[in-house]
Amino acid sequence: MTLQILVNGLVAGTTIGLGAIGLSLTYSILRFANFTQGDLIAWGAYLTLAVAGAIGGLLAGLGPAGPLAPFSFGWTLPVALLGGMALTVLLALGLDAVLFARLRARGADAIILVMAGFGASMALRAGLEFIFTSAPAYFTRELQIARPLGAGMRATPDQLLVLGLTAALVVALHLLVTRTATGRAMRAVGESPALAAVYGLDVAGVVRITWVIGASLACVAGTMSGLLVQIRPTMGFDLLLPLFAATILGGIGSIPGAMIGGLVIGLSESLAVQVLGAEWRAAAAFVVLVVVLLVRPSGLFGRGA
């Protein structure tokens, strides 16, 4: 039973970690705490659901597509995820164009961007409630049996897939940021946009790439969470505090840091559920946040706050 806390925590932590990587990148490169990241996660889940519904509707004549054994979903979900990612990216780029880019162009303080994001997040979340109502939605109705992993731990095939996919994404992203010219440009803009522009870097392009990565990860995180738990309009907003706690714990701008931060938050949530009861789950992220701010505000891999 005790080792099962580990599995539950790691699985919950992957969603938080993926979302936190997106948050950490926008935080370090665009230089503001983006309160819309949580709602991009929720929108990502709903957009994937909508695309899956559309594919299902178009291909209804071909007969029902069975699940891909041993997973609970059919081939439409991975395809829909790609569509959902594209739409989430469009949403983020659109938001940047109408809101954040204009404020940046005016030379507004970072805190004004934070506030604008705060207002936009309210509109995005309530918009989801308006379109899809607040009733939960599901990608699949299939039930999955958790299989024994040894040492008393159990996990469903879906959960293992999510863990593996997350690990692959984190490694790929880390290599992108540390080993490629694009990654170098991103870090340069994060250091100093003005200096990067003087050196002839395409700052607007870097901003675009940052949103593309952040929104794609948000969509993947939302879809994973929707697959393993359920889809609700408030799912992203509920994730926001864990995301911020994970980002600050990992150190702003650090991709491995954000992932480790996410896993730590996931594990402490799972521990809180076990020790205090499920109703106190959300307190875990708050406690971690307070401890980090007290002990090491720059985070594990940060360079000073």
Partner: protein, 316 residues
């Protein structure tokens, strides 16, 4: 008569929002501190005052039956202590850490309101909170008017006090820190200390506002202190004009009027099953409005006027 009583009720609620806005204006308008946990400060004040003043109840800790004034004072003190703790933790760090920490406090306190049942009554909240002028409760108009006078007096007193503070040396130092921290520091002002003082003062005002609201309504529950409250108050201050105390009050009345009018419209026009959905459009509108004001009229309806000192007439 009924319309008059309703108008008085409406304005009393608007005055409680105006009180919250005045507190937020000290933090954001005068000092530039971004508090995303307004609901936590207001809710804390409401719960502290309710626990201090309600009669004893079985199965619940608290219920001290103290007079309403003691509840108000306790609420302001609690708001101040919470602000002191959050401020001491984050004010020395980068500015958006305060936003994240206050957001966290709002989530955490909401959990306490929901789950610490012996203290807060859980999801059902606390009822039978003593109301000011309860003896008049049978005469709706007299009750509504006396309560309006009381909440209006709170707003007026705070307005006068805060205006005087803004024109005092302390207020000048505060704005100096907001505009140019290095310059202020080189003149011997401590930015950290000034920021912390302003944050605590704002927290006290918000705690008091929560208590005033709780005693007027007579009943509180966790659902009153959701993030939507924080959004509403921010929309009020930004629309009215941050940095301007009159703007804060005007914004509270205008936004609350729009909110109440659209809620009444939805109740009239939308079929019962779709009302929750239609109300979410209200929140979309508030979010969009907040962004639109930041984009096109960041100074709000009543822009901040540069006050130097009450001894100097306004500059041309």
């Amino acid at each position: 008569m009924e319309i008059l009583a309703y108008a008085a009720f409406f304005l009393t609620v608007a005055m409680t929002y105006a009180t919250i806005c005045l507190g937020l204006n000290v933090q954001w308008g005068q000092t530039g501190l971004f508090n995303v946990g307004v609901a936590a400060f207001v809710g804390l004040g409401a719960y502290v005052s309710a626990i201090l003043t309600t009669p004893e109840a079985t199965g619940r800790i608290g219920g001290f039956g103290l007079p309403i004034a003691a509840g108000w004072l306790g609420a302001a003190a609690a708001g101040g202590v919470l602000a002191l703790l959050v401020g001491a933790l984050t004010i020395r760090l980068r500015s958006d850490y305060l936003a994240i920490a206050t957001f966290g406090v709002a989530v955490a306190l909401q959990l306490v309101f929901q789950n610490a049942e012996p203290l807060t009554g859980g999801a059902f909240g606390i009822g039978f909170i003593p109301r000011p002028f309860a003896a008049l409760q049978r005469e709706a108009l007299a009750f509504a008017l006396t309560n309006l006078a009381l909440s209006g007096a709170v707003v007026l007193a705070l307005y006068l006090a805060l205006e005087r503070l803004a024109r005092s040396p302390w207020g000048r130092a505060l704005r100096a820190v907001r505009e140019d921290e290095t310059a202020a520091e080189s003149l011997g002002k401590s930015p950290l200390r000034l920021r912390l003082e302003a944050f605590v003062l704002g927290g006290m005002v918000m705690g008091l506002a929560g208590a005033v609201q709780a005693h007027f309504i007579g009943f509180i529950a966790p659902a009153n202190y959701l993030p939507a409250l924080t959004f509403q108050v921010w929309a009020m201050l930004i629309l009215g004009g941050s940095g301007n105390n009159r703007g804060a009050i005007l914004g509270a009345v205008v936004v609350w009027a729009i909110w109440a009018a659209t809620a009444a419209l939805i109740a009239q026009l939308v079929p019962a099953g779709e009302q929750a959905r239609a109300s979410s459009l209200q929140l979309v509108a508030i979010g969009v409005a907040l962004c639109a004001i930041l984009l096109w009229r960041p100074q709000g309806l009543l822009p901040e006027h540069r006050a130097i000192s009450r001894h100097l007439s306004r500059r041309p």
